[in-house]
């Protein structure tokens, strides 16, 4: 699955509420334990945007009696999350790096220093950066095309599975209600 995926088992109250799992790899900068949802929570938890990918990590709740369908959905969501994280973290990091290189090379070509009198970094204005933006977009065009296609497929599959799971759960609840009503 994801490189550096962290699955955390939460034991509380004899595992009555299930556990949590996530495949989000934060990039290795975080020291110490990641966020743990409180005991007894039966829902997924969503966090602040990741610094590199700007995506919000989700920690998925694993219900105690997870059906195969639910498991398939959860694993697909985790895998998609990790895949998205990898793509965007790489993309944003590459963008920053290449932008810095571009600025550096432009400033050098102009014979300027990279830091001004106050010691802060000099940036180019938008018109000068336009060449870089155009170039970056062109270079990554194919990559984005493939990503888009895969993203749409995953998104549709996840949503479809969510629909199936919701339907099954609704039917189960309805059945339970009618048997309860029948028993009374």
């Amino acid at each position: 699955m994801a490189a550096g995926g962290a699955a955390r088992a939460l034991r509380a109250g004899g595992c009555r509420y299930g556990r949590f799992s996530s495949s989000f790899s934060g990039g290795g900068e975080r020291a110490g334990p990641r966020f743990r949802p409180p005991a007894g929570s039966r829902r997924d938890w969503i966090g602040p945007p990741d610094r590199r990918s700007n995506l919000r990590p989700v920690i998925f709740h694993v219900p105690p009696r997870e059906s195969p369908l639910e498991r398939r959905l959860r694993e697909l969501r985790e895998e998609t999350q990790a895949w998205n994280q990898r793509f965007w973290a790489r993309q944003n990091t590459a963008f920053q790096r290449e932008k810095e290189e571009f600025i550096y090379s432009r400033l050098k070509a102009k014979g300027l220093e990279t830091r001004d009198e106050t010691g802060q970094k000099v940036t180019l204005n938008a018109e000068e950066m336009a060449d870089f933006y155009k170039d970056f977009l062109r270079k990554n065009f194919r990559k984005h095309l493939h990503y888009n296609r895969d993203w749409y497929k995953r998104n549709f599959t996840i949503t479809f599975l969510m629909g199936q799971v919701a339907l099954v759960r609704a039917l189960r609840w309805l059945r339970r209600k009618t048997t309860n009503a029948g028993n009374q």
């Binding site: 700007n54 204005n125 155009k134 977009l137 998104n155």
Partner: protein, 447 residues
């Protein structure tokens, strides 16, 4: 119906209604295919409001790649700092990927100095702060209306409905209030559906763009399944309402527009710059729908109104996209402003000038009197002048001027058009005078 019932009272009513709609439209920031930050709901259109809008857009020009988390109770979308407006200020930006430099406005006071340095006060404080930013993904019913409003881009929808109302009002038939209301409602529902699907498709991209990173799906406030269900529950009744309550032509146009926006424009944004033209058509269809709702037929007047909206989209969007080039480039959006900047400016100017021509055609088609091109000429000349400045100077300030001009230009133009509308009474008199050679004046209204 008697000639005395010459539409003036219902026209006035429609005018007030449309003006009111447009006024509410003005408060919000328009454009169907431009993702915009929200503005607070209850601002009046004042100089302060324009300043606020300016600040909102300027902050989007920040080269800020980090994100901030907002507490769930926050209703203001765009966190911005007064001190960080100017892009020309060539300082401060740490061009390192990691540092979360900026903070939401509500936490600004506590963490401002630490934020500017870029390091949290202590690692422990940062960690606990981060842990406090995790949210349970539970849908709270009292939050639901707000979430759905943001999901459906309610302000943009309001503007779309107001352009449709303008189309309805301009149609040369007696004003029919029930039909008008049904058409407006149907258009609004269709627009909600289209916007929701658009957000459903674009979650990871929206996360990475400053302007869109606080949308409900990005923040996990609503699940994708619920978003799709909401879209279906808006779209199906909306189109059904248009088809059965108004007429099939309007329903077909509405369905086509939803398809065009969700299945053509949204994917195309990442494939080709032609998306801008498709998006312009998407924006042009609502007034056509309004017209067909009133008259039941697609005639020259409808196409002219659509043409005016179509042309308007270009200066509006191209000027806006000029300042978002970095986000588009990083996010992989194929926009003219990034790949073909000269074309971007040329097209904007071209369509500003085209507006002048289109407004001149209106009296020829008997939609308005000849006062319309005369009165609208200063408006169109001004926007063309700004378009020309943008074409020549190609910088942030000229793009912003053009964009903000487009925001008030369209409502004003539609209002002037409506006030110069050729009344049915005049047309009937003309028709009598020319004894039947003026077939165009008598539009046949289908039941």
């Amino acid at each position: 119906m008697s000639a005395a019932r010459c539409c003036s009272p219902p026209q006035a009513l429609a005018g007030i209604f449309v003006w009111h709609l447009k006024k509410t439209g003005i408060r919000q920031v328009p454009c169907q295919f431009v993702h915009l930050c929200r503005a607070p709901n209850d601002r009046l259109i004042t100089f302060q409001y324009f300043n606020f809008l300016r600040r909102m857009y300027v902050t989007q020009y920040n080269k800020d790649l980090s994100q901030r988390v907002k507490p769930k109770s926050d209703s203001v979308v765009s966190p911005f700092r007064e001190s960080q407006l100017d892009q020309e200020r060539k300082v401060i930006h740490k061009i390192t990927p990691i540092s979360p430099v900026h903070q939401p406005l509500s936490e600004l006071r506590e963490i401002k100095s630490a934020a500017e340095i870029g390091d949290p006060a202590t690692p422990l404080a940062a960690k606990s702060k981060e842990e406090g930013q995790w949210r349970e993904m539970k849908l709270r019913l009292d939050d639901l209306p707000g979430i759905l409003a943001r999901l459906s881009k309610i302000k943009l929808t309001a503007l779309v409905v107001s352009t449709a109302s303008a189309g309805f009002a301009m149609a040369p038939v007696p004003f029919d209030l029930p039909c008008f209301l049904l058409a407006s409602l149907g258009t609004g529902l269709a627009s909600c559906a289209a916007n929701s699907i658009n957000q459903f498709f674009e979650v990871p991209f929206d996360s990475n763009m400053n302007r869109t990173k606080n949308r409900p799906l990005v923040r996990g406030q609503i699940s994708p399944l619920l978003a799709v269900c909401f879209a279906a529950s808006c779209g199906v009744p909306g189109i059904a309402l248009l088809t059965m309550g108004v007429n099939p032509l309007t329903g077909a146009l509405g369905a086509f527009n939803i398809f065009l926006y969700t299945c053509c424009y949204t994917p195309m944004k990442r494939m080709s710059i032609a998306n801008t033209w498709v998006g312009a058509v998407v924006g042009a269809i609502p007034p056509v729908m309004g017209w067909t709702a009133a008259t039941g037929s697609l005639d020259a007047g409808a196409l002219l109104l659509g043409g005016i909206l179509y042309s308007w989209q270009f200066p509006h969007f191209n000027a806006l996209s000029w300042g978002l080039r970095e986000d588009y480039s990083r996010g992989g959006y194929c926009m003219m402003s990034v790949t073909h900047p000269a074309l971007c400016r040329r097209v904007a100017l071209r369509h500003c000038v085209a507006l002048i021509g289109l407004c001149t055609v209106a009296p020829i088609l008997d939609i308005t009197t000849w006062t319309f091109p005369i009165i609208s000429l200063p408006l169109n000349l001004y926007i063309s002048y700004l378009g020309f400045r943008f074409y020549r100077e190609a910088d942030r300030s000229s793009s912003r001027k053009l964009f903000f001009c487009s925001l008030w230009h369209l409502p004003l133009l539609l209002l002037v058009m409506f006030s110069c509308k050729k009344s049915l009474l005049e047309k009937e008199e003309q028709g009598d005078a020319l004894s039947g050679s003026h077939g165009r004046a008598m539009e046949i209204r289908l039941p």
